[in-house]
């Protein structure tokens, strides 16, 4: 006993040690959410050069104001010349850029400076430079790319003049290091050079001292020193210095502004200083920068006056490249004056809350009216159009009105007069068609649309606009063939949308991954409206006939056939299920075994089980077509974010669900689509509704699968598929949609598996059942 005990203890300790050292199990992680965009909502189609040239497409009121302003220019005849187009495309590209790309670009100038100073013989690594300076709980960008670029240029000039090993150069570098230490740190001011030092070296040093004070937030000292430099005609910085003195005042005002208001005195001084710079003809190389700073000062000192000014400037024809800064400032000012940041969502904005100063300016009023979705904005748009008959107001009124508006006839008549060659024509005709459809004037709407789509082959509509028209035309389809022709659309972007700007992933990046490779080339898929109509407005009879035709490309035909096959099984519709077998035999060879089992089954129940067994083994099977990119995995692979099988048809739709579970088209839309296809007969619509109601009663896919697996096992205990089906059913409750029934169905399947098939490998592989939420 005394000998056995230590052995047992050693064994225990060693076993424990082994267990303790083992790694925890790896956990699966789902892919990022890739989605298809069929019409851009945040900005026009890319590249933006087309929009800048006047290819406006269908203008959306969700676009940023900088785009709507350009549209306004085109509507009022100002347009954009080549320089203006380039300037605005550059603005838009900068705004759409990932903020980290901007950060990295800023770092490039610093890197160049560090590389340049590193070449100076004997110069050490130098201190690390942090371009931000802290102020209370935030920081500000203290040292800009321009600062480093200027320093690099100066260094190169001095190196050329003095030589790389000259002490004056090394001293200059050392002093410049001190200057940049002030970007983030405590004040470090270089010492002045003695009066007998080289004159250029002294002038350089004086400039560095002034700059150091600037970065150290000692603005009064900086201003004074720059003024002294300005008075030294021999200094190479004498022309630049007055501008920099103004910059010191502006920076002082920016950082001194608090709850009491802005530092108007400093700004007023800056304004006076900048006006002197602009008046100095010998300082023309600084005028552009001075003008920008003056605009900034005006923006702060008198925002309402600046708003008026910018409203004129941004519409002035041939304003050249200044338009870039003007549009930038204008849109920021509009945001600021309208308190945009106070709204939780842009849909909360109300026309009544738009400040009077904005409403009093025609273009600004138009921008806000066009963007805001409430009744007041709609009424105002129609009122302004009635008063002015101006094109921008026609567009705003058309975009907001409804088919029961008393002024509908007048608006539609006015829309007819818009020239087809006008940049705004697609927007006008889109809304005219929308109103005709809503008013039930389908033949007129169809005729208009067909002409637009025919013309678009010549005029090349932007793809977002083309998809918008295809969507409208789909709702007017006269038969299923026509429906399918317009239901399939090529997305304008396939995107992970990391920054919320709907920017497309590069084709070469998509091509690298096996699960996204197929999206590297443009191919059609179903947008939400098409999927909704197929999934919830059409009876099986119509869907199965659609599979037989050749209106769809192979991948969409396969998708529809699979959906019909599964749906037919759920509804015990053998005829519809059999109808798609030939297509599936050709297009879904991986299901050969299951298709054969289905074909040879001798009863409706057996056929149903054959399909459900296939579904259990292929989590991608569902009685629905997918939206956009759908599931990114083959149907036999399980997806980690529970996008497997299907959810209950009566679940409420949420915005999260739509974005992140595009394949699970959700309920409220499923059951009551806004525009059911017109070609369906009343009997077909009723049949579709009946079918949806039946599907809704079945509940979430995994629950249904578990119930059916249990039922089949009870009635067919010797079927070799039964235990595997039960195992898969229990597992499905872990990886698919769940609800309050899941616990019961999962447990029931589990218990049946273990009680009846306890010795099978399937029971051994099923140690747990699931409540659905772990």
């Amino acid at each position: 006993m005394t000998h056995k005990f230590p052995r047992i203890f050693i064994a225990f300790t060693l076993t424990f040690a082994l267990l303790a050292f083992s790694s925890p199990p790896a956990q699966a992680c789902g892919p990022d959410s890739l989605r298809a965009v069929f019409s851009y909502s945040k900005h026009p189609d890319l590249p933006l050069d087309g929009f800048a040239r006047g290819r406006l497409g269908v203008l959306r009121n969700t676009y940023a104001r900088s785009y709507l302003l350009v549209a306004y220019r085109y509507m009022t005849g100002a347009g954009l010349n080549a320089d203006e187009q380039r300037a605005l495309v550059s603005l838009w590209n900068e705004r759409l850029q990932d903020s980290w790309e901007r950060e990295e670009k800023g770092a490039d100038a610093l890197d160049l400076w560090l590389a340049a100073r590193g070449k100076v013989s004997g110069a050490d690594q130098g201190p690390q430079v942090n371009v931000y300076r802290r102020k209370e709980y935030s920081s500000y960008h203290n040292c800009s790319s321009d600062s480093f670029a200027f320093a690099t240029r100066t260094l190169n000039e001095r190196a050329a003049k003095y030589g790389a090993t000259d002490q004056r150069l090394k001293d200059w570098v050392a002093a410049q290091d001190q200057v940049f230490a002030n970007c983030s740190g405590d004040a470090t001011i270089p010492a002045a050079l003695p009066s007998d030092a080289d004159s250029l070296a002294r002038q350089d040093r004086n400039y560095q001292i002034a700059a150091a004070n600037f970065y150290a937030a000692r603005f009064d000292e900086a201003k004074q020193l720059f003024d002294e430099i300005a008075g030294d005609a021999a200094s190479p910085y004498s022309k630049l210095a007055p501008y920099l003195a103004a910059r010191a005042l502006i920076r002082k005002a920016s950082l001194n502004s608090d709850e009491e208001g802005i530092d108007k005195q400093a700004l007023a001084q800056a304004r006076a200083q900048l006006e002197r710079v602009l008046a100095d003809k010998n300082s023309s190389e600084n005028h552009r920068a001075a003008r920008r700073m003056l605009n900034l000062v005006s923006y702060r000192l008198d925002p309402e006056a600046r708003l008026q000014e910018l409203s004129r400037e941004t519409l002035r024809p041939n304003s050249g490249e200044t338009i870039r800064q003007d549009v930038w400032d204008y849109t920021l000012l509009l945001n600021k004056l309208s308190n945009e940041d106070s709204y939780s969502s842009l849909d909360e904005r109300k026309y009544a809350e738009v400040p009077k100063t904005i409403k009093e300016i025609e273009v600004a009023d138009w921008l806000f009216t066009f963007q805001i979705n409430d009744k007041d904005a709609a009424a105002h748009a129609t009122e302004r159009w009635a008063e002015t008959r101006a094109l921008p107001w026609l567009v705003a009124a058309l975009s907001k009105t409804t088919h029961d508006d008393p002024k509908l006839a007048e608006l539609l008549a006015a829309s007819e007069k818009v020239d087809r060659a006008s940049p705004i024509f697609p927007t006008v005709v889109y809304h005219a068609i929308r109103l005709l459809i809503d008013a039930g004037r389908t033949d007129e709407a169809r005729a208009k649309l067909d002409r637009v789509l025919s013309d678009s082959k010549q005029s090349s509509l932007p793809p977002s606009a083309a998809n918008s028209f295809l969507s409208q035309r789909m709702t007017l389809a006269r038969d299923m063939r026509e429906f399918l022709r317009y239901a399939q659309r090529i997305p304008v972007a396939i995107t992970y949308d990391y920054n919320g700007y709907e920017l497309p992933e590069k084709a070469e990046d998509l091509a690298k991954e096996s699960n996204t490779r197929e999206f590297a080339r443009a191919r059609p898929s179903f947008d939400t409206d098409a999927a909704q109509a197929l999934n919830s407005a059409m009876p099986l009879e119509v869907l199965s006939q659609a599979v037989a035709g050749n209106a769809l490309p192979t991948h969409l035909r396969r998708e529809l056939a699979l959906a019909v096959w599964v749906r037919a099984a759920l509804l015990d519709d053998d005829e519809a299920g059999r109808a798609v077998l030939p297509t599936l035999n050709k297009l879904a060879p991986e299901l050969r075994e299951h298709l054969a089992a289905y074909a040879s089954a001798d009863s409706t129940h057996a056929r149903r089980f054959a399909v459900l067994f296939a579904a259990l083994k292929n989590p991608g099977l569902r009685p629905l077509v997918n939206v956009g990119v759908g599931r990114l995995l083959p149907i036999n692979e399980r997806e980690s974010f529970r996008d497997n099988w299907w959810c209950a048809f009566e679940e409420a739709a949420t915005s999260d669900d739509q974005i992140y579970r595009p394949a699970a088209v959700t309920a409220a839309q499923n059951r009551f689509p806004a525009h059911a296809p017109l070609f369906l007969t009343e009997a077909q619509r009723l049949e579709a509704a009946r079918e949806i109601a039946s599907l809704a009663r079945l509940g979430a896919g995994p629950n249904y699968l578990a119930r059916q697996a249990a039922l089949w096992a009870k009635n067919n205990p010797n079927d070799p598929r039964a235990p595997e089906a039960l195992h898969l059913a229990v597992r499905s409750t872990r990886y698919g949609c769940v609800d309050k029934e899941t616990e019961q169905t999962s447990r029931a399947a589990f218990q049946l598996l273990h009680s009846r098939y306890g010795e099978t490998i399937w029971a051994k592989r099923t140690p747990y059942w699931f409540k659905g939420y772990d």
Binding site: T2, H3, F5, P6, F9, I10, T13, F16, A17, A20, F21, S23, P24, P25, A26, Q27, A28, C29, G30, D32, S33, S99, W100, E103, E104, A107, Y132, R134, E136, Y137, S138, S139, Y140, H141, E259, D341, S342, S344, S345, Y496, Y498, D509, F641, R642, D643, C647, T654, D656, D657, I659, Y660, R661, C737, V738, D739, K740, K771, G772, Y773, D774
Partner: protein, 291 residues
């Protein structure tokens, strides 16, 4: 005293027996000591390091003294001078660290923040990784990130640190190492908390054994996990992970979970996609209070 042979034999037997017992006792004690060391030290063989147990007790006590309502102040101009500092704290975004390939790019908070004196502040650092140019997750990146976070706490009123990082599986080890290093270098009484996807709290083993005082499950912007998490909460269940049971994160623009027990005795963090206003604050405070 005469000792007979049998007595000597018995003595020998007793000595032998004592030696054996001594040996056995030594073995048992050594084994027990090894087991005790394991539990005390929580070693990780993968790295071959012995990690000291996280000094959570004083930081946990500090965390317990934080207000029950915390407003997230994100990268927007925020004027929170209207709050009552006895009941409300502020978790402000102090900066963001972006990891891409071998680079560590940092950006401090650029928008102003105003708070009343005596506000209990949590300095939040967000970590993002480049989805296209995957980060190398090097030691250098870890060190720089820790340095940035440590720098961020040097501000008046900072009473805790929070890390906001939606780490993918492949990034978890890096994150874990970072948290341990950070905990080691933070003052022992300064709490360290993290935000986490709510779904991680439903099932994730990874949160276990992290040197944190709190993991805030964010019950908003849940994306693909929304259905699972809402279902769990609606059924009356709680998060599995104990680290997730002392707080909850919500947003002003999403419905609150219907299960009100998720708010009982838990710190509530509130996100606002826009700048805070007294009205927005009053609305959400009332909603939270109702629960």
């Amino acid at each position: 005293m005469i000792v007979s042979l049998p007595q000597i034999a018995k003595l020998k037997e007793r000595v032998h027996s004592r030696h054996t017992s001594l040996f056995t006792a030594t073995l048992i004690v050594t084994s027990l000591l090894l087991v005790a060391i394991f539990f005390a030290a929580k070693f990780d063989l993968r790295k071959g390091l012995f990690r000291p147990r996280a000094a959570v007790s004083s930081s946990a006590a500090s965390m317990a003294r934080m207000p029950q309502l915390i407003l997230w102040a994100w990268e927007r101009p925020e004027d929170l001078t209207f709050i009552d500092t006895r009941t409300t704290g502020v978790a402000f975004l102090a900066g963001t660290v972006f990891l891409s390939e071998d680079k560590t790019i940092t950006r401090p908070r650029l928008q102003p923040l105003r708070v009343p004196p005596n506000t209990r502040l949590i300095s939040v650092t967000r970590i993002e990784t480049d989805r296209r140019a995957k980060p190398s997750l090097s030691v250098a990146q870890q060190k720089e990130t820790v340095r940035v976070i440590l720098e961020s706490i040097n501000r008046p009123g900072v009473a805790a640190v929070q890390i906001d990082f939606d780490a993918k599986d492949s990034e978890r080890e890096f994150y874990r190492e970072l948290l341990f290093e950070l905990r080691r270098r933070l003052p022992s009484s300064l709490p360290l908390t993290i935000t986490t996807l709510a779904s991680r709290c439903a099932s994730d083993e990874w949160l276990k054994n992290l040197p944190i005082d709190e993991a805030v499950p964010m019950i908003f912007r849940m994306g693909a996990d929304a259905q699972q998490v809402r279902g769990l909460l609606a059924s009356g269940e709680d998060f599995k992970s104990p680290a997730c049971r002392s707080s909850v994160g919500i947003s002003t623009d999403e419905p609150l979970p219907s299960n009100s027990s998720i708010f009982k005795n838990r710190r509530t963090y509130v996100f606002n996609p826009r700048s805070w206003s007294p009205e927005a604050f009053a609305r959400i405070a009332q909603e939270v209070q109702k629960r």
